[in-house]
């Protein structure tokens, strides 16, 4: 065991994993001791800065840099540095995949099935082939992004893939111009044999419902947290139950617990299907040449695009290069090559020219991914003193033709409760596939759980915040953070002025609500980074990771700059190319937690090597060479200071370079695979929402949100705040507006646009006040964690609790449209 002085034994805790899970067959294996190899005992700062920072001693690999102090003592890390690529973005120079225009590039368009479920009898492409400008046509032999039959023989004798959702690609054309491609797809004649379909969740659960798949299925995971656990039973369209979401739970005996409860709260909650709506749709430009394939991808994970392409086209990875300069948002849905990429590569190979295949807004809504809906039944048992005894959840949701519906892991990890049973089911429907979406499952689950906890508080006449203080799972970084977050948040939000539910007399009713948020602290162990110093004093950092808007280039530069005493602007920050050392996926809040320690380690080693080269120049020992404020000097001798570039030039070398990996967390993980490690600690926050409900029209306004969050050490508070604003706003948008509408008769989406699929605009944005904790967990060389998911998780729940405080009525259905609101007020 590692030497942890003041944190409890992980196995004593209810947090992710725990004893039960490790004992279960098929559960993740017990992780090996972290960081084998030479090590040292190292004292590290631990706790929340400004609220009692302590020291812990942990076993740290010998070659890790010394621990960083709190941000106030640093020069680059923790500073609100402006986005390094901000100017490229405001000038229109930033090149997204959508903007890639290669010489001779062709434009591709696909034929989408109008039927939600059909066998394809024949496809006649002859007229399209003759259309002027058409250069290649391809009919896909397989469909990606959906669940796959466990036994492919369950469906045989079909020449073409079965159509399982309206909008599924059937064939694709590449032509000289977009107009030619659009005209040519209209000329492709497809003969369909329509099959019975089902597009509504509850219909699909019925025993006699049309089958979406003829047999049991599997849904592989994505790095963003999508996918479904393997090997679950499937009956008809219903697959499950999954009773240990992300490896957590079940525990105890829930029936016994319920029978011993003094208070039982029971309710049903419903959430809607939400689509990702990245401003840049999914897309890829493929350039197939004899000597290799180059892909320009709008992606959250360069590595996954290369892996897919190499596997599906049987190419060595060395022949596949993926470039992603800028990605216009992803939110969990942009992994792998997708059907658009598969088709683009085939078309490029056939035409011998680069092919651009980018979805239009309708295709994006229909086939680009979505957050599954849910019907959740919760039963919560408690003692009169508020302690929980049992929590039972049954949840159904549909991710269309993909698995991955669920309501998260919050039931096992947020609150102490000895008996927990979550049974969640995937229900297949003839609708576009779901994909990971900014805290998959957790957003839906917390919406219901946090309302239930509020109901319990009310029933017991306890303050909702005090109750949560009593219930928080203990012995983790989360518990420390949550207590502090409630304290500072309540003060800022004016919690003590909160009135009893339904206090307003007029038609406009106002209220204040609260909810807690939690997400996983994930690390991608395969992360590496290279740092180079050139003879002219240039410093560059390289990682294949990509920036989907979070500011990856900037934080990479900040971390490297710190070691060289430079400014972030001085660092060449190179990402988005599969030729660089492997970088993490931009998903699950793992870029900052994975990349920054690797980058610091590389920069530290490189700086030490540089110091050794500079030692003769300064006639000093290497260990006495320091880099600060853009200068090099001998420790304690200010007079020796020389500008960085000047000093490096004097050292007389061409280039030095160091590569370093992300080491294991010093305390180890709950479990670890080559591409993902999970800590027993999490990340999270609390949110307070103020709402105004117009009881005449049903229009809800969120007027103010106070969001208090922790993310380990914030590398750049301004970028972190940006993400929290974004998470809150996306949460408000989910709570109030967003909903995919499928027509039951045709299986077509009725609002596959941004005209009728509403997302929050600037006017509806509430006043958002962000308070950011700096919490040091003594886990890595930067102690940084991500923040994307938690900011989105608690919002809808906080708004719903505020709705109750305003009106005295519970709203258990999302979104809170005027119609749903009037219905809830009537009920």
């Amino acid at each position: 065991m590692q030497d942890v002085k003041d944190t409890s034994d992980p196995r004593a805790s209810n947090k992710p994993g725990g004893e039960q899970q490790q004992q279960q067959a098929g559960g993740p294996p017990q992780p090996p001791q972290p960081n084998p190899g030479p090590s040292r005992q190292q004292a590290l700062p631990y706790g929340i800065v400004g609220a009692g920072l302590k020291e812990v001693t942990r076993r740290v690999p010998e070659d890790e840099p010394p621990p960083l102090p709190e941000n106030a003592k640093l020069k680059s890390i923790g500073k609100p540095v402006s986005r390094l690529d901000g100017i490229e973005k405001v000038t229109g120079k930033a090149r997204y995949t959508f903007d890639v225009q290669l010489p001779g590039m062709l434009w591709a368009k696909w034929v989408a099935s109008p039927h939600p479920h059909a066998r394809i009898k024949s496809i006649d492409t002859s007229a399209a082939e003759r259309y002027p400008g058409v250069r290649a046509i391809h009919i896909p032999e397989r469909i990606l992004s959906t669940a796959q039959l466990r036994d492919p023989k369950a469906e045989q004798g079909n020449r073409y893939p079965t159509v399982r959702y309206a909008g599924q690609p059937v064939a694709a054309v590449a032509a000289d111009t977009p107009r030619a491609a659009e005209a040519a797809v209209k000329l492709i004649k497809v003969e369909y044999e329509p099959l019975p379909h089902v597009s509504q969740l509850e219909e699909a659960m019925k025993e006699n419902a049309p089958r979406v798949f003829p047999g049991p299925t599997e849904q592989p995971a994505t790095a963003g947290g999508g996918g479904a656990p393997p090997g679950l039973p499937q009956k008809g369209n219903v697959r499950g139950p999954d009773n240990k979401p992300r490896g957590m739970g079940p525990r105890g005996d829930v029936n016994k617990g319920l029978s011993e409860s003094e208070v039982v709260i029971e309710a049903e909650y419903r959430t809607q299907v939400q689509t990702h709506v990245p401003m840049e749709p999914h897309g890829l430009v493929a350039d197939w040449k004899d000597d290799g394939l180059t892909l320009y991808a709008s992606t959250q994970f360069v590595t996954s695009v290369r892996e897919d392409a190499a596997e599906l086209f049987d190419l060595p990875k060395s022949k596949v290069r993926v470039i992603s300069d800028f990605t216009g948002g992803g939110f969990g849905a942009k992994y792998g090559i997708g059907n658009y990429g598969l088709l683009a590569i085939h078309l490029s190979r056939k035409a011998g020219a680069p092919v651009r295949m980018i979805l239009d807004r309708r295709e994006e809504h229909v086939s680009g991914g979505n957050r599954p809906n849910s019907i959740q039944r919760l039963k919560l048992g408690a003692k009169r003193d508020g302690s929980l005894v049992a929590l039972q959840v049954q949840a159904y949701g549909t991710g269309g033709v993909a698995g991955g519906a669920g309501v998260g892991f919050c039931h096992s990890t947020l609150y102490e409760c000895p008996n927990v049973l979550v049974e969640q089911y995937d229900v297949f429907t003839n609708a576009g596939p779901c994909a990971a979406f900014r805290a998959p499952g957790q957003v839906q689950g917390i919406f219901a759980l946090e309302q239930t906890i509020d109901e319990l508080a009310e029933r017991l006449k306890m303050d909702p915040l005090a109750l949560r203080g009593k219930l928080d799972v203990s012995g983790t970084d989360d518990c420390l953070a949550r207590a502090q977050e409630r304290k500072v948040g309540a003060e800022r939000a004016g919690w003590n002025k909160r009135r009893p539910a339904g206090s307003d007399k007029g038609p406009i009713k106002r209220g204040l609500g609260f909810a807690q948020s939690q997400w996983l602290y994930l690390v991608q162990p395969s992360t590496a980074c290279e740092v180079r110093v050139s003879g002219d004093g240039s410093v560059e950092a390289f990682s294949s990771t990509q920036d989907i808007g979070t500011g990856t280039r900037t934080i990479l530069a900040q971390v490297v700059a710190e070691e060289f005493g430079l400014r972030a602007e001085d660092i060449g920050s190179h990402i988005g190319d599969s030729r660089y050392p492997m970088g993490p996926a931009s998903g699950g809040s793992r870029v900052t937690s994975s990349l920054t320690p690797a980058a610091r380690n590389a920069a530290y080693r490189c700086a030490r090597e540089l110091a050794a080269r500079l030692a003769p120049v300064f006639k000093a020992n290497a260990e006495n060479i320091v880099f600060a404020d853009g200068k090099v000097m001998v420790k304690g001798k200010a007079g020796s200071a020389m500008p960085f570039r000047e000093a490096v030039k004097k050292a007389g070398f061409e280039e030095i370079s160091q590569r370093a990996e992300r080491r294991d967390d010093y305390e180890g993980y709950l479990f670890k695979t080559p591409d993902m490690a999970l800590s027993r600690h999490g990340i999270g926050g609390v949110q307070f929402a103020e709402v105004a409900v117009d009881t005449e029209t049903g229009i809800v306004k969120v007027e103010r949100v106070v969001a208090v969050h922790d993310c380990g050490r914030p590398i750049n508070p301004k970028l972190t705040e940006s993400q929290i604003y974004g998470g809150v706003i996306q949460g408000v948008s989910y709570a109030l507006y967003e909903e995919r509408h499928l027509d039951a008769a045709s299986g077509q989406q009725l609002n596959a646009n941004v005209d009728q699929y509403k997302i929050l605009g600037s006017r509806e944005t509430p006043r958002i006040e962000v308070i950011l904790l700096e919490q040091l967990g003594a886990q890595s060389s930067t102690d940084a964690r991500g923040v994307a998911e938690p900011a989105n998780v608690a919002t809808a729940a906080a708004v719903a609790n505020a709705f109750y405080n305003a009106t005295g009525k519970r709203i258990r259905t999302l979104p809170m449209t005027p119609a749903n609101v009037l219905a809830a007020l009537r009920g």
Binding site: G86, V90, A94, A183, G328, G549, D755, K758, G761, A819
Partner: protein, 483 residues
């Protein structure tokens, strides 16, 4: 054959052979490779494709207008000056709009940023950015999915009304934008912009099936979404006769081709109920291209302009070579997306009569988002109350309740002759269920529509108790700090 001619970032451009339904966005990106302007939705709802066009306002003065380039067809910018994000940086110097956006971290993924910069550019050169709500209205047409709205709005607030001495200021000072007549064809498609009424009648004589277009905010969707290639479009933009906006006989004459931005400015003082609906109507970019005529002639049951104009007793004035005829607006709508327009006839004006003494009037729109959203229910109400407090006339017009925008005749009848009290309103509301049998769709169930329709009238009663014709009282939104 005429060529397409316009100025792109101050450089003259001439084109032939391009389809007249080529959108400005596609032209910019695919033809001249200015890829700074993005496409997000291709239907005017996200603002990623925003560019600036030097236009003339209703008084004929030059004005820089942010428009959605995805909805603009190339012939619509004939003779005009078009600016894209690439024009912002001048002489190696970043524009203040760019500096502020970068400084405030107004980008996350950055894909929406160029469009936001161009919407900010209009704000930067507007002379009337004197109230915070105008910044809300200016920026509401740009979606950001990473949702950096707060920093975006802070940046916009910094630049609004600055009017720096940049290339745009010079163009505004020098250029005299006038819509130009055009007869353009390419392949099987034609686009006419007649320069006189006689020229219009000639075109219509030859092509009675021609479709009219102004800003293209509705029609262009057929091109971008259904890949339609309409063979013949006739723009009414170069007809000064239709571009009028003036008081008339105590009321107002609203030219069919007046941009809604200009109408909104005019209505602020002249006609508060109309202004309120225009504030709800849509984004700045849309209002910079949409017209009264276009909105009424689509005859959509949920067109936002119809209920308020119906309630104010407006008349449609139709013109043809034969002359002019007047049609009460309620008779103009003949069915779902059908109007009273005959062959060879155009909607020339909408005449809003003087409002009677004792009139109480207001307009409402219920939707999820306030602007850039389709109404579940919209309404325009005018009730005339005499000196004794009795209702002498009631015009209650609704959108979203039937196949056309329509008046609630039975409810109106139940009000007339009664004292204007809450009890009268409650009693009359029982009749609303006889007036309308609304449909259920994804914007609202029949029950919801019926309920809200009633609640709107209840709200109208209370809102007009002390002020008969209230202005839209509006603070700034939470994300704007008042400078």
């Amino acid at each position: 054959m005429e060529r397409l001619r316009f100025f792109l970032n101050d450089k003259p451009v001439e084109e032939t052979g391009l389809s007249p339904t080529t959108t400005l966005l596609r032209y910019l990106r695919d033809r001249v490779h200015l890829t700074g302007t993005k496409e997000g939705c291709a239907e005017g709802d996200c603002g990623a494709c925003t560019v600036a066009v030097l236009e003339h306002d209703s008084q004929g003065a030059p004005a820089l207008r942010a428009v959605n380039s995805c909805l603009v067809l190339l012939p619509m910018v004939q003779g005009k000056r078009v600016y894209t994000v690439e024009a912002l940086k001048e002489g190696g110097k970043y524009h203040v709009v760019q500096e502020m956006l970068a400084r405030e971290l107004g980008s996350q993924c950055g894909y929406c940023t160029p469009g936001i910069a161009m919407a900010m550019l209009e704000a930067c050169h507007r002379r009337d950015m004197d109230e915070p709500w105008k910044l809300d209205a200016q920026m509401c047409g740009n979606l950001c999915r990473c949702t950096g709205y707060r920093p975006i709005r802070e940046a916009a607030n910094q630049v609004a009304g600055l009017r720096p001495q940049d290339r745009f200021a010079r163009a505004l000072a020098e250029a005299r934008p006038e819509p130009m007549a055009l007869a353009y064809e390419a392949g099987a498609q034609r686009f006419f912009t007649p320069g006189s009424m006689d020229a219009l009648w000639d075109v219509l004589d030859k092509h009675p099936d021609a479709r009219f277009v102004m800003g293209g905010t509705d029609l262009s969707l057929e091109v971008t979404k259904r890949y339609a290639e309409p063979p013949l479009l006739v723009s009414l933009e170069a007809l000064p006769e239709l571009h009028v906006l003036e008081p008339r006989g105590g009321g107002h004459r609203l030219g069919a081709t007046v941009w809604l931005t200009d109408l909104e400015d005019y209505a602020r003082v002249a006609c508060p109920p109309l202004e309120r609906m225009l504030r709800y109507f849509g984004s700045r970019q849309i209002k910079n291209r949409a017209t009264v005529g276009g909105n009424l002639c689509t005859a959509s049951p949920i067109g936002d302009m119809a209920p308020v104009l119906l309630s104010l007793g407006a008349e449609a004035v139709l013109r043809s070579r034969a002359g002019e005829r007047r049609v009460p607006l309620e008779d103009f709508f003949q069915g779902y997306r059908r109007t009273a327009l005959g062959r060879g006839e155009v909607l020339a004006y909408v005449d809003v009569p003087a409002q009677p003494e004792g009139a109480r009037a207001l307009a409402y729109k219920v939707s999820k988002r306030r602007e850039l959203d389709i109404s579940a229910v919209s309404a325009g109400f005018r009730v005339v109350v005499d000196g004794e407090g009795k209702v002498t006339e009631a015009r209650l017009a609704y959108g979203g309740m039937a196949a056309t925008p329509a008046r609630a005749r039975r409810t109106e009848a139940a009000l007339v002759g009664q004292p204007w009290t809450e009890a009268t309103v409650e009693a009359a509301l029982a009749r609303l269920d006889e007036d309308f049998k609304p449909l259920s769709d994804h914007r609202g169930s029949a029950w919801y529509r019926a309920q809200v329709a009633k609640n709107l009238l209840r709200g109208f009663f209370h809102e007009t108790l002390s002020t008969p014709v209230p202005r839209l009282a509006e603070g700034h939104s939470a994300t704007v700090q008042v400078r």
